[in-house]
Symmetry: C2
Subunit: 505 residues, 2 copies
């Protein structure tokens, strides 16, 4: 069917066109079907239908326009075409049939190429969540995620890497682990994420110190030059399927287990990692509730690593309380830098960082078994880690002379004080993160929460429990209101609710 082209000045995120309802009927297609746009070449697009586009005209979203070339043609020939085979493979999954490696590869490729509609993407993640995948399928999924993106190949080996399953606030340890490893002569090209539901991802933290957006080639060359990098994975084309999947999973608040595994290992596989340590925070409020669950996850990650030729070790860590006493980009970076500069700072941060770095040093052969943590501690104490971080900051284009006192948290500050004397008997990680987010984290770098009292600590009435920082006054107001309405910490003996008036009936 020959139709006039009306260029829509809007992006759809996919190759999409809008047909008038009547033309769509005439062509025998419905919303979600595919058509081919036949000009010089063929382009497959997803159909929307509506009355807003007049009969005889096809509305063409930005992506299609760009693909059709400089000058969008005046008319174009539209022919119905079949759905990608991936859709029938997704159907096969729904029917609990196993997929082949080729089928999984095709699904992942179509995801990366934006060939699947939101309905199809959602069916895939929903089915993944419900049915899961076999070990073979998870391996194929991981390989497909690696192969449909950029890969880094280093000449030197071993390549080290770390990952945290997440779920514990204030987990700024990569800022210490990466320089400790690199200072010991091992290469560690760390790609990391920005916070989605958290208050600060490692990429958000590093951005306080230096740019974090690099291509895979730049990540390689910085790593080869100074031994390490802390980059934002989202700026690369490494395992790009992961981000597309998250876009469908986030609205449903699901994180299918097969994709959790594949996503972690694909990112490590794509940068050519040989030795990987994975931090599994365990405790209420994190993603892993019990030690048993944690061990199961560790076994799965190690098996998947083995299948992919990576040496994986896992460390189960205490996740019920934040790491250190700060939440939010500037506050966390200040706390981490202070440890690097002075060895002064929360024990939870120093212990966890050196423990994980120690495992990597042993895996990489730099420390003997059982001696890794000591070497890590020594690297930290000697100032070698600080110097290495400065080299990394400089290589990434930041100011290497920065000190922890140069980093200013938000100027708008408010305190939540204890309404009673007593011990902190409840500490709600999720509420703390929520308050930091309302205060502006992670987008406002100065926003966040300083924790004065953690679980089990003693506090006197009127003493501060937390200080909230914000870059903007109105955000501080909102965060304080939220904190006062529903305390993130419970002090023994404190009233949970005060009923002020009674209505006698």
């Amino acid at each position: 069917m020959e139709l006039k082209v009306q260029s829509l000045l809007i992006k759809a995120g996919k190759y999409k066109v809008v047909l008038n309802t009547h033309d769509a009927k005439e062509l025998g297609v419905r919303g979600g079907d595919r058509v081919q746009l036949k000009d010089h070449s063929y382009l497959t697009a997803i159909v929307e239908t509506g009355e807003i586009i007049p009969k005889g005209t096809v509305g063409v979203y930005q992506e299609c326009c760009e693909k059709l070339g400089e000058a969008c043609p005046l008319t174009i020939n539209i022919i119905p075409t079949s759905r990608p085979n991936s859709v029938s493979f997704i159907k096969k999954m729904m029917d609990k049939q196993k997929l082949t490696q080729e089928e999984i590869y095709q699904i992942v490729q179509d995801i990366v190429k934006d060939n699947l509609t939101e309905i199809e993407m959602s069916a895939f993640v929903t089915t993944s969540y419900i049915h899961g995948m076999s070990t073979d399928e998870i391996e194929w999924l991981t390989r497909a995620m690696i192969d449909t993106g950029e890969k880094i190949e280093f000449q030197t080996h071993p390549i080290m890497d770390k990952h945290s399953i997440g779920g514990v606030p204030g987990n700024k340890i990569s800022l210490l682990v990466v320089p400790i490893i690199a200072a010991n002569g091992l290469l560690i090209p760390k790609t990391s994420s920005r916070a989605i539901t958290g208050a600060a991802g490692t990429a958000d933290l590093m951005e306080v110190l230096a740019p974090v957006e690099f291509s895979a080639d730049e990540i390689k060359s910085i790593t080869e030059r100074v031994g390490g990098v802390i980059a934002w994975g989202g700026a690369t084309n490494i395992a790009p399927a992961d981000d597309k999947l998250i876009q469908s999973e986030y609205p449903l608040s699901i994180d299918p287990h097969n994709q959790l595994l594949a996503s972690i290992m694909a990112k490590k596989g794509a940068v050519g990692a040989d030795c990987v340590v994975i931090d599994i925070p365990v405790g209420s409020g994190t993603k892993v509730q019990t030690m048993e669950e944690g061990k199961k996850l560790a076994r799965e990650l190690m098996e998947l690593g083995e299948r992919l030729g990576m040496n994986v070790e896992c460390a189960m860590t205490y996740g019920a309380s934040p790491v250190g006493r700060t939440i939010g980009p500037a506050l966390e970076v200040r706390e981490a830098l202070k440890v690097l500069e002075t060895m002064q700072g929360p024990n939870s941060l120093i212990e966890k960082s050196t423990a994980l770095a120690g495992i990597l040093l042993e895996m990489g052969g730099t420390a003997a078994r059982g001696r890794g943590k000591d070497l890590a501690m020594e690297t930290l104490r000697s100032g070698k880690a600080l110097n290495k971080l400065r080299e990394i900051i400089e290589a990434q284009g930041g100011n290497p002379k920065i000190g922890h006192t140069d980093i200013k948290p938000g100027e708008h500050r408010g305190e939540l004080t204890s309404p009673a004397d007593g011990y902190v008997i409840e500490f709600d990680n999720k509420r703390i993160v929520e308050i930091a987010r309302i205060a502006g984290a992670p987008i406002d770098k100065g926003a966040g929460v300083w924790i004065h009292r953690k679980k089990g600590e003693l506090v006197k009435k009127g003493e501060p429990l937390i200080t909230i920082f914000a870059d903007k006054g109105w955000k501080l107001t909102n965060a304080l209101k939220s904190a006062e309405k529903d305390y993130p910490l419970i002090v023994e003996g404190m009233l949970l609710e005060r009923v002020q008036t009674f209505k006698v009936i």
Copy 2:
């Protein structure tokens, strides 16, 4: 956040706005999250993000603009808000937990109000397909589908209705059943669908004779006036959730069992039906492959009917071959009218129509048990059914004097002839429908297929197997090409493929 309003001249099918990626981050929302537009009143909208909308501006789709009033405001205050509770109920379903009646009602209500994104809708239908629902949940789903739409309440009772599960081509029996029932003094307000993947739905057929788009009130008054109506359900607001669900199911080629049941019974419940006969075609190529499956489905429908206070009977019918010898709107109507006028026509059509009408006549108390089919046949033979159909046509605004010879099938015609002498040993319903659709059915009323030979019938070489009709020459060419490439009928002894050249290696 106060943003400038940019009205997008396009419909999204939902209340949707587009935020600049930076503003979205600042607000702490992502694609698929919800915001409230705060003007005089509150309006909740789904967020898309992109670079196409400048910072400080919100792109507002048509639906939101209309809701905001005549003059879209120049600026508007945007605040993040939570997702509808339905999303967590859908998550509950994914986790295989049972839902309450209230939870199901809320999901259905959000579906009807277009409050759910495509990702959420797809998660619901995918989960329904995988996990199904309990009998209680299916009852609640049906009640919710009834209660979220228009309902018809008749003063006279009983109200009769029929439904076919579908899957068998040429099933034009409603054109006979409805007038037979109405001619016997019973009320039958038949709402029907248009073909989605078929060659002609009952609404597509009736449209050849008269308008079919009526409101629920009009359906009621026509039924009260002449005893029956054959209307397109899609024009009413009866059980509107069904259509929205189909929009998410169609792209995945799934028809979740719970929704199949609820959809049928909701439409019957909403028109106040007391007695319903359901036609379950059984056989390869239909939705029900075996008698056992058919019986199971029948039991489920009858139980659901009982829970809803409806008397339901099911008839399993032969579905391996088309009903009658015509496929496509004009051809089918012509065949049905000829039977009404002359009692001449395919036995399969006359037998099936009178058998189902007979069941309804017995259920309605007009015929004694075992005497329904005779009464139906007599109603047909006496011309009473024809007169009643003419009354219905006139009441719907069509020409009551129309005769079968007035209905002209498409003028472009082509034959598929038998390449050999022999019996028809295979007959592919789906291919026949496909060919009729390529020829233009159901949108081109004259398009379709005339079947000269059905399964088991004898044919001589060169005699026609089918004639293809089309309103447009190019569609006939395409349909003929498709038919010749892959024959829908196989004649015993016919070559399936001729290998014409050999390459000797």
